[in-house]
């Protein structure tokens, strides 16, 4: 095995999806060895020989030097590059290498000893040393005394599947880090916490986003948005809107202009999205600004009381009317924040997919925070608000405490 093959094998090892346990096989009750008509033996042998699945049969001696191979079919030869006459009489370790999981091999032996069957996955090597991911299951064949006489291994090369799945996972993780990053604990004048729950844990990026921006004037901008739709299209739209809003906020544009620019992007692309932005100035005594566009209200928590801030602007994509006339000025709200006040920005996934009436949103958020008794910590408030909701949709919460 060349150093390159060895490195390739180590990379492949990261893609393996070993189940960790050997599940019972579909029909374990009537083993072939006990139930088939002996006159069928030549037919079954032919079936094994013609099978497209790689099949290896060994004797049942698990002690060193290990089981002896008594048969491999042509599919095994094709998959591994090993010729039958070169491997029969030897042991299966010629398929293993340094990247072959020791844990899986240990489990193989343990499972065969206790239950006579095994299924697992590990990096194996072909005759030329090249690595591949093999998924295989082994069934024991028992003799008339009930003791195993042979093991039958059915083997699949799952390298391409695992590599694809692994690549997709790497991509999703990178997207998630870029689009739903950790928020800083402190952002200028506020302490910040965020929590996101994906509708589908296997694909933890969707149309919802949150973002925090420290503006040039030292103010803190908090953003939560939600693109209608799902899948790759919604993720692309979300990324575009997220960075449109982010860049303009960094540059210090008034939030009304930021919303208009995002609306134009959405309209041009045929997207619809809702958005909430709150900007907390660097100096206390200056009111915070809030804008919502088709979005659930921003909630201000002060002690145990909660108030909604809602500006009745249409969702992004609908702010300029279809005739192209410019819509009236965007509605903004200014609110005075006292030290300890918490601003809570949510997407409708937190509101049980929007099933909570708009008017009930502040009470609902205050109840969840009170039930959790989390005090003034923004991260704990964010967690309480998400965890108190019914799972189903993507759910994002961003909390800032002055």
């Amino acid at each position: 095995m060349s150093p390159e093959q060895r490195r390739a094998a180590e990379r492949l090892a990261a893609t393996c999806r070993d189940p960790g346990t050997s599940a019972p096989f579909a029909d374990d009750s009537g083993r072939v060895a006990r139930s088939f008509d002996p006159s069928m033996a030549p037919v079954l042998a032919e079936a094994v020989h013609a099978s497209r699945a790689s099949i290896m049969i060994t004797d049942a001696d698990l002690d060193a030097p290990g089981p002896r191979i008594v048969y491999v079919n042509p599919a095994f030869e094709a998959m591994t590059g090993w010729r039958a006459d070169a491997v029969v009489g030897g042991d299966p370790r010629m398929l293993q290498g340094p990247a072959t999981s020791r844990d899986v091999l240990d489990r193989l032996r343990a499972d065969l000893t206790t239950s006579g069957r095994f299924e697992g996955e590990a990096v194996n090597h072909r005759a030329d040393g090249s690595p591949f991911v093999m998924s295989w299951r082994i069934a024991g064949v028992t003799g008339s005394d009930g003791r195993p006489t042979h093991y039958v291994a059915i083997q699949d090369d799952v390298t391409a599947d695992r590599r694809r799945a692994h690549d997709a996972e790497v991509l999703v993780t990178a997207l998630q880090r870029m689009l739903l990053p950790r928020v800083p604990a402190r952002l200028g004048p506020v302490r910040v916490g965020a929590r996101f729950r994906a509708a589908s844990p296997g694909f933890p990026v969707g149309g919802d986003w949150y973002d925090t921006v420290l503006r040039r004037d030292g103010s803190a901008a908090l953003v939560v948005g939600d693109v209608a739709g799902s899948g790759a299209e919604a993720v692309s739209a979300m990324a575009a809107l997220r960075w449109t809003v982010h860049s303009l906020l960094v540059a210090g544009h008034p939030i009304g202009d930021v919303v208009r620019a995002a609306d134009t992007t959405a309209r041009d692309q045929g997207w619809h999205a809702t958005l909430a932005i709150a900007v907390v100035p660097a100096t206390s005594g200056v009111p915070a600004e809030v804008v919502t566009a088709g979005h659930p209200p921003v909630v201000v928590l002060r002690d145990s009381r909660a108030a909604a801030v809602l500006t009745r602007n249409p969702m992004l994509g609908l702010i300029d009317d279809p005739s192209g006339r410019r819509a009236p000025d965007l509605a903004l709200e200014r609110i005075d924040l006292e030290p300890g006040d918490a601003l809570v920005l949510v997407t409708d996934g937190v509101l049980d997919g929007g099933r909570i009436d708009v008017d009930d949103v502040p009470g609902c958020i205050a109840d969840r925070v009170a039930a959790d008794g989390v005090g003034g910590d923004p991260q704990s408030i964010a967690s309480a608000v998400v965890d108190g909701s019914v799972p189903g949709d993507d759910a994002a919460v961003l909390v800032a405490v002055r």
Partner: protein, 88 residues
């Protein structure tokens, strides 16, 4: 051309609703969407309505929403969809 929707119009039913709307758009007539039996609508439903309204408007046709119950009415207002359709 009247399209009657029912139940909860959310992401799970987006494809179905978009299909119905495309059929309605293809008739070349004004479209009325009857929301009497709709108990809830999420942003994907609102987006499908807004998209249909935009296409019809570009063609000089109108989209009317009828019978929206209060929770749905609130969502139409919150999203601004109420500004681009006729409500009845």
């Amino acid at each position: 051309m009247v399209v009657t929707l029912d139940g909860e119009i959310d992401l799970d039913r987006r494809a179905e609703v978009v299909g119905l709307f495309q059929d309605a758009e293809a008739t070349g007539q004004d479209v009325e969407v009857d929301l009497r039996f709709v108990s809830f609508m999420d942003s994907s439903g609102l987006s499908a309505i807004a998209t249909l309204a935009g296409k019809l408007a570009a063609d000089g046709r109108t989209l009317t929403l009828s019978g929206a119950r209060r929770p749905v009415q609130r969502l139409l207002e919150l999203s601004g969809v109420d500004r681009i359709v006729e409500l009845r």
